[in-house]
Symmetry: C3
Subunit: 241 residues, 3 copies
């Protein structure tokens, strides 16, 4: 159902069962897959510096109110956003991306499957986020080693890496697969795969595998441990990773 | 006055003198007390995972533009929000709560009276905020000790505690009554009542009572010292606390 | 072109070629210069505590969707904002100010020319930002030395200063001309002109002039080095500064 107050371009392509909320604007070139819900006060297909381009959003998406998604990106199935999120042009994202409330993705990012960006995450232009990477609230990925230079280097966050709340990742840094960055840390050197990095500036403290639950059992690698509501087939696939 | 462009459900209950701005959406089950003003582009009563539920907002509220308040919460008198704030379901809040611009309350919180959450504060699901607690800009309350675990523990901020700008409170930590957390600190251990905690990770530096004004007089406990525009009867009540 | 769904007060003054997007509200007393574009879902001229006042926005402005600009401010030519930004009353800003997505300027600020506030920057009431100052994502300028006191002291950021992502500037601190504050730093003492300040709390590490590019050439002072898309006449003027 398209709310009568929404402005939907006749040059967009919406599956039959798409829902669009009040006061939402959908520009030309937007494609919304079946089962998608778009909240109120959103803007989809905002023209970027490259002008009008397609914005392709796969089946089963949930886009909450007040979000702005630029033209020129492609999202696979089941994109889910919080409120007031913005996603600039040139993003290529795999299935089941979640982008939290007030998050700000600056465009040209390559994003794997089941990536989670929590509230108010800031992702610099050109960043790469591997499958199942988790960015907790207020994480910042930066891209300018000598600001305000013209030589930008975005970070790379590898698969299953976890960035704790408020962590700042400096330009060009690589956070390895399954690594954990503690909340509030500032990452100035690469974090090896599977390491726990802590502090300002962050230093490798130990292997993430040494982190224990209250009962003494190992907490990491988290893909063998935590479910967080993933479907069983996804959990099974993770365990094989 | 309800702006003619607003969409107000006939199943909501608005006091006679409520003002609703342009392009605002009010869902079924919302109750707004007398003297309440709702700005433009808001969404009140957004259905959460529990489906349609009441959202009760007491008398004299001011809700500024672009806010999203979910169904399933109760706010006492004189709620005041900045712009673009979001408040999820299950919040129980006392009188005179202020929630700043771009703040994000994740729901199921218990909030006392006269609590102040400044701009861009992030409050994890299930957090508890005591009477007159102050969270300054960009404070983050986290809830996951081993992210992305399934075992969440929200922080507790006791009455009259002050969290400086950008402070990060780690899961399950308790900031005691009247304690002060310095700006930019990361709180990994409980902060005793009346203590000043500073640093990354934060350590108790001294008693907050030792902090002096420029003239040498004690600044804390702040409830005996700072007015910040509270009405006289509230100041009198604080002094007795 | 004014979108037919926009609400534009007959007591505002819009140049002939102004563009206003859907669902935007423009209050009485707003003046928009020629060549200005206002996106959708904005509020311009929101009345502040001082009641209705003029809001003057110079020629060539671009104000993106979901922004809120209060009455009682004056912006020179070519203001540019991201999405969801808020700017409170009493701001006096020079030409070419950029205010990023989710940024929050608290009012009564004095802002020079070509100032850049990136995404989610928080600028305390009364702050002063010199010409060509750069505030990168999530920088916080605070104003209360003993929160929640009544004695506010806003920071001063001098011309060509650079504040890295996530930096917190404490109340009343001065960041000198051409100084660089590293990402994630908490600035508790004044930063001398031309210095690099790093850490929590931040300490002067060395002269910014010692920071080198990959090829060994000096990166700073950045006004002699980086273009970042400024027009040639602005670059020439900077070199003379």
């Amino acid at each position: 159902m398209i709310h009568p107050t929404a402005h939907v371009s006749p040059e967009s392509v919406l599956a039959d069962d798409v829902t669009v909320g009040p006061f939402t604007v959908i520009h030309a070139g937007v494609e919304l897959g079946p089962g998608t819900t778009v909240g109120s006060h959103c803007v989809l297909g905002e023209p970027g510096p490259g002008g009008p381009q397609p914005l392709s959003i796969g089946a089963g998406a949930t886009i909450r109110s007040h979000c702005v998604l630029y033209a020129g990106s492609t999202f696979a199935e089941r994109l889910e956003t919080g409120h007031h999120a913005t996603i600039r042009e040139g993003v290529q994202a795999g299935t089941n991306l979640r982008v939290g409330t007030h998050a700000d993705l600056q465009g040209d990012c390559r994003i794997g499957e089941y990536v989670r960006c929590h509230s108010s995450v800031f992702v610099a232009k050109g960043s790469r986020l591997g499958d199942f990477a988790w960015l907790f609230p207020r994480v910042v990925l930066t891209d300018d080693p000598r600001p305000p230079s013209d030589e930008l280097q975005a970070p790379v966050i590898e698969e299953y890496a976890v960035l704790g709340a408020g962590a700042v990742i400096l330009p060009g840094r690589v956070v390895g697969a399954g690594a954990v960055v503690a909340a509030g840390s500032v990452v100035a050197v690469d974090v090896p795969a599977g390491a726990l990095s802590v502090g300002v500036p962050a230093r490798v403290s130990r292997s993430a595998a040494e982190i224990r639950m209250g009962d003494g059992s190992p907490a990491y690698p988290w893909r063998t441990r935590f479910h967080r509501g993933y479907p069983q087939d996804v959990i099974d696939r993770r365990l094989d990773a």
